[in-house]
């Protein structure tokens, strides 16, 4: 009797979650999938006529290239985020409690400002005769304004800047739980610092690192506005293409097909990734 009542209660408390998932996650996904098989109307909207043309259209080399471009940028940004974010998160976990709080605050504060506005900050730094140019010319390294804005490196800087906190927090939460006495034990048993790190610390923070990579890689496949603003619209990512097909070309079914393929590819990447690394649990994610 007692257990039954508890079941009813827990079902009641879980219901909103299920409802939310069905209405706001499954619903749109199904809509997207159906839309991707329909035909565009001549001017505006869609016609209820089944077609595979939208998917066939993706195979056009011009559009395939945008997928390659997206993967290239995502892999490059994720690698850099790992290089910067992992040591940061790892050493942050070693700080005293007070310093941990300060660091946390320092990383969180920029999040209170819209990411778009923060990107405009980068534009001010990078633009001709901007902050960076001013410093470089001031100390005599360059004599004329450099062309920094609207370049590929500018986009990469923007991506890394936007994504690095996700890596730091994921690694940090994993490293914080690390039992340092295990590292000490390894050292006592004669392991070098490096050996102790690779066999103990790295292994035990791997779930954090991996969830950090997932948290970085997936958004970096979709963060198209950074390429827009800092890259001057010259790097065409799948995200840019979807937005343009939807908002300007009025080809909603094609935009839907692109989104479906992007989602499938991203899921496949995560699946492969978990297979290769053989990690069952991603810290804080699944």
């Amino acid at each position: 009797m007692k257990t039954k009542r508890r079941n009813g209660l827990s079902l009641l408390s879980i219901m909103p979650l299920y409802l939310f998932t069905i209405v706001f996650v499954a619903g749109p996904l199904i809509y997207l999938l159906v839309l991707s098989f329909l035909t565009r109307a001549e001017v505006w909207g869609v016609v209820n006529k089944f077609t595979l043309d939208n998917y066939r259209n993706i195979l056009d080399p011009i559009y395939l290239k945008t997928f390659a471009e997206s993967f290239k940028l995502a892999i490059l940004s994720t690698s850099l985020v790992v290089l910067i974010g992992y040591p940061f998160g790892y050493f942050m976990a070693k700080l005293s409690a007070a310093w941990k709080r300060y660091m946390m605050l320092l990383i969180m504060i920029p999040f209170w400002i819209s990411s778009l506005i923060r990107l405009y900050g980068w534009i001010i730094i990078f633009r001709a005769n901007g902050t960076l140019d001013g410093i470089l010319m001031g100390i005599g390294i360059t004599s004329a304004p450099l062309k920094l804005l609207y370049t590929y490196p500018a986009v990469v800087v923007g991506m890394v800047y936007a994504l690095v906190p996700f890596m730091i927090f994921a690694v940090y939460s994993s490293a914080e739980k690390l039992d340092w006495s295990m590292v000490e034990a390894a050292r006592d048993l004669g392991a070098t610092r490096w050996k102790a790190f690779t066999t103990v610390s790295l292994k035990m923070t791997l779930p954090g690192l991996l969830s950090g990579i997932v948290l970085t890689f997936i958004p970096s496949m979709g963060l198209f506005f950074i390429a827009d603003l800092l890259g001057g619209n010259k790097i065409v990512l799948v995200g840019n293409l979807i937005q343009e097909q939807l908002m300007k070309a009025h080809n909603w079914p094609f935009a839907a097909a692109l989104s479906v393929v992007l989602m499938v590819l991203t899921s496949l990447m995560i699946f492969l990734y978990r297979r290769i690394t053989n990690v069952k649990e991603l810290e804080g994610l699944i």
Binding site: W44, Y63, K65, G232, N233, I235, K248, H250
Partner: protein, 351 residues
Amino acid sequence: MKKIFTILLCLTLCLGLIAGCASKPQTSGGTLNLFTWEGMFPSQVLKGFTAETGIAINYNNFDYDETMLAKLQAAKGGDYDLIIADDYIIETVISEGLAQKLDRSKLTNYSNINPFYQDQFFDPSNAYTVPYGAGVQTIVYDPAFVDIEINGYADLFDPSLEDNIGIIANYRVITGLALKILGESYNTEDVDTIEAAGKKLLELAPNIRVIKDDNLQDDLVSGEIAAAVMYTSQVTTAKLARPDLKVVFPSEGIGFGIMASFIPSKAPNADAAYTFLDYILRPEIAAECFEWIGYYSTNSAADSLISKEYRDFLTLPSDFSGDTEMIQVIGADAEDAHSKAWTAFKSASGK
């Protein structure tokens, strides 16, 4: 830590909900639900209207014409009393039956409209719309950094301009530029011709430094780029900041566009819309508006009231004889060919 994240996440979600509720159009009697881009009227004009008529203005804005049409369609022509948008989308709005015919007897200042901007393709008999600002696409360049004389679109292909040109992100305008060089119409529906234009456009790619719609003039003013293809309002801002910039009406032909206002078919307060339209058609109010938006004045009575500083930029030159053409909606196959050419061009510009 997780708790903090959870709380933050919940807060963000709630904020989203609140914001969503706040922007819902109101339908009370004394309110005008205006729907247009951000910043289309100076605040003193909006305040002046409310002070004079007692009608409050509920200003809703959209980013793209397409967003407007999608929302208007979802509202089945209701929710909004007055919408200002671009010519081509209004053609679709009218054909979808989402606009209502104007009762001109309610607009005492209707005769102020400059007939040059009337009888256009999107509303041939002026039954639905009142023009607001108009504009053309022009080339603007900084003679200090450009060695050649630019007269038309073909000059932008000059190798001396490598990595030095900024263009607006409207692909009908930009692939259209190549169509114009080939002597074709902006609105050709022949896929082979559009593909040929796309191929021609690829030659321009090495010269492109930035492609964007918002504030392109800033890059020209700051010296990031030496030449640009842009809209009239951007030209106005650029010229006011840097009078030494040169403005060129391209010799191959000029793209022309009009923003116009219409009343949706089921506007909850159409009377307020008429009152507002008549108010902004007054010469002195119109002059203030055109100075604010920086587009060509479509109000003949307002032309002489526009301050001297602005007048040259906001009225078409009296000797204007350019070959203008408006960009219209084209068929799906032609549209797809355009967007394919545009994607290839953008990717090539990044190389």
